[in-house]
């Protein structure tokens, strides 16, 4: 039977502060620039990023943000869409014009699909609708920062003894072949592409199913437990972990 205890975890709880027993992502220190005019939100985010080991700078309007982004060496920019002095999309446009390809996450109160498309077309790499939880933002920041020079082009993903061949679309663990449905394959592919990083339910829904709405019930959890029963069942070392209050992560626990 799949492990149902993982299912009813409420979404969006603050994380990083509790339970050392949980699997921790492979985290390297990142430099983040926050451009957002809601000072309270910015201060909270800067503090939260610091607590998980990153460095975050802040700018409260579009002009300052653009100046900082042009000077500094950042791994990720987090840009609010509606900013004083210069709006978020124009900041991104200016940066891209100047050849600065730092990944950008757009924050916006507008969460509809057409707004998202507009944001991504303007040069954003990801789009997060307000209100969001810190864990969701953190997961996306880490995935984005690591995306450059990552394993996107590899044809073979490997985590411990789990192997996924993107060409032949075959999966095996410990030399034992595992049969997956097409969607399960894409789910595992996405998780393994971001091995060692937390992937949220919303990220899975967006990237594996291409849905940008909220499916009321946590359907993703059930898909994950199915996948888990196929790749972890019967093996001593579990690879697919639930990160409480955040999402999921594939990780070689023995490392």
């Amino acid at each position: 039977m799949p492990n149902f205890s993982a299912i009813n975890v409420p979404r969006g709880r603050g994380r990083g502060f509790d339970a050392a027993a949980e699997p921790q992502p492979d985290r390297t220190r990142m430099r983040i620039l926050l451009i957002e005019d809601d000072r309270e939100a910015v201060d909270y985010l800067v503090k939260a990023f610091k607590e998980v080991g990153h460095v975050a700078d802040r700018a409260y309007d579009g002009e300052d943000g653009l100046a900082l982004a042009l000077d500094g060496e950042y791994d990720v920019l987090i840009v609010d869409r509606m900013l004083p002095k210069r709006d978020g999309l124009s900041v991104i446009g200016m940066l891209r014009d100047k050849g600065i390809e730092t990944p950008v996450i757009i924050l916006s109160a507008l969460g509809q699909v057409d707004d998202r498309v507009k944001g991504l077309r303007a040069g954003g790499d990801d789009y997060l609708a307000k209100p969001y939880s810190f864990s969701e933002l953190l997961a996306r920041v880490e995935v984005l920062a690591r995306r450059r020079g990552s394993r996107g082009e590899d044809t073979m993903y490997r985590v411990a003894d789990l192997e996924l061949d993107r060409m032949s679309r075959e999966v095996s663990r410990g030399g034992q072949k595992i049969l997956l449905q097409p969607r399960e394959f894409r789910l595992l592919e996405y998780l393994m592409k971001h091995a060692g990083q937390v992937v949220t339910r919303t990220m899975l829904l967006e990237n594996v199913w291409d849905y940008h709405f909220d499916p009321q019930t946590n359907v993703i959890d059930v898909h994950i437990s199915r996948l888990r029963s196929k790749i972890d069942k019967g093996f001593a070392q579990p690879l697919l972990h639930t990160v409480r209050g955040a999402g999921y992560m594939i990780r070689d626990g023995a490392r």
């Binding site: 709880r13 849905y211 009321q216």
Partner: protein, 470 residues
Amino acid sequence: MTALAKLFRTTTFKLTLVYLFIFAIFAAFLLGYFALNTRRLITEQITDTVNAEINGLNEQYNQGGIRRLVLVVDARSRRPGSSLYLVTTFNGDTLAGNITEVPPTVFNTPGWTETQYRRVEETDSGDHHALVRVFQLAGGFRLLVGRDLEERERVYHIVIDAGKWSVAIVMALGILGGVFVTRRVLRRVDAMTETTRTIMGGDLSGRLPVSGSGDELDRLAVNLNEMLERIEALMRGLQEVSDNIAHDLKTPLTRLRNRAEEALRGGQSESGYRAALERTIEESEALIRTFNALLMIARAESGHGRDAMQDFDASDVARDVGELYEPLAEQRGLSLVVEANGAAPVKGNRELISQAVANLVDNAIKYAAPAVQNNGAPPEIVLSARIEGDTTLISVGDHGPGIPEADRPRAIERFVRLEQSRSQPGSGLGLSLASAVARLHGGELRLDDNKPGLKSVIALPRAAPLHSLG
């Protein structure tokens, strides 16, 4: 503004004046032309007659000399009529004729002259005019033959007078008619203005009067009334939404506040605080979810998402959504069957339609699962996409408790969760969202009896078949 000034300022009245002016100019021109031509015609007639007479008299003179001419002229002069004659010697002495006091210059100008004259037998010095021709006879005698012009002038003046009068009457009638028509229009416009004032005052139930004549004002009034109908419905909807928001958002907000207060009262362990905070976050997430759903419905109802329409196959949507929910259904002891084999082309916003279908499936699973566990209802949930005539149907049928027929229209309304389902999680917006999406695409959401259970059907206008299969 006085009533009269208001009347003069209306478009109808100004138009009447313009038309009257144009008509008057035209009439004056026409009658003037007619009068002048009549006059010319009469003049021609006179000259013809006079010429003929001169020729005749000249012949008499040539045959019988001056004696004969005098006799004939004398005889003709005595006849009643408007013919005028005069024969003089070369030095101007009158030999015969019926006129006198002809200015001497007339005799010195041969040919046609218009002149004053007096008849011999008349004693008054009345102002008579005549058209005369002086003819030089051999032997120095002069013959003058002419016609009185009174008749010509009378006819001319009759025509001119008729013209003046008819223009005056037309103007008077035109202005009167203009005033009448304008006042009629004004009255109706005033009535409309009055109604719009009361509507602006806040009473949205007012409607513009329609006279029933089907004229342009009626058409305008009918259209405006339809617009008012729609505005009133929207306002009523807004009212309902705000009432419902007040109800359905206030309840969880109060709960949220109470929990926070309870936690603040203290005396709890750290884990107690933590649990309270976790519940608070959970509750706020649910609130955000409800709020998002509300926004989506509002946007769909105001026509948002129309620009992202594309052609796609509803069967693909059914299969995709089915694939997303199948594990959940299985986990809850149900079996989700997807029947989507044929093409079911639709033009629309794929994301929105997927969300609507997902909502229906989510609902079906939510309500059917307990029914299957408690009283052994059949576990199938059928998700199907197919074409029926001109519509593409996407339906979700379950064997849960269903919705009594009387409650079905209400179930689609926002926030309505029928009483027995109050305890279920969810925003209660699933059906309203599906309905709003269906309406955005020119279709509708139908709730039918699945015998037993509920069958929710999204009926959309069928699109042209897809040529390129993705």
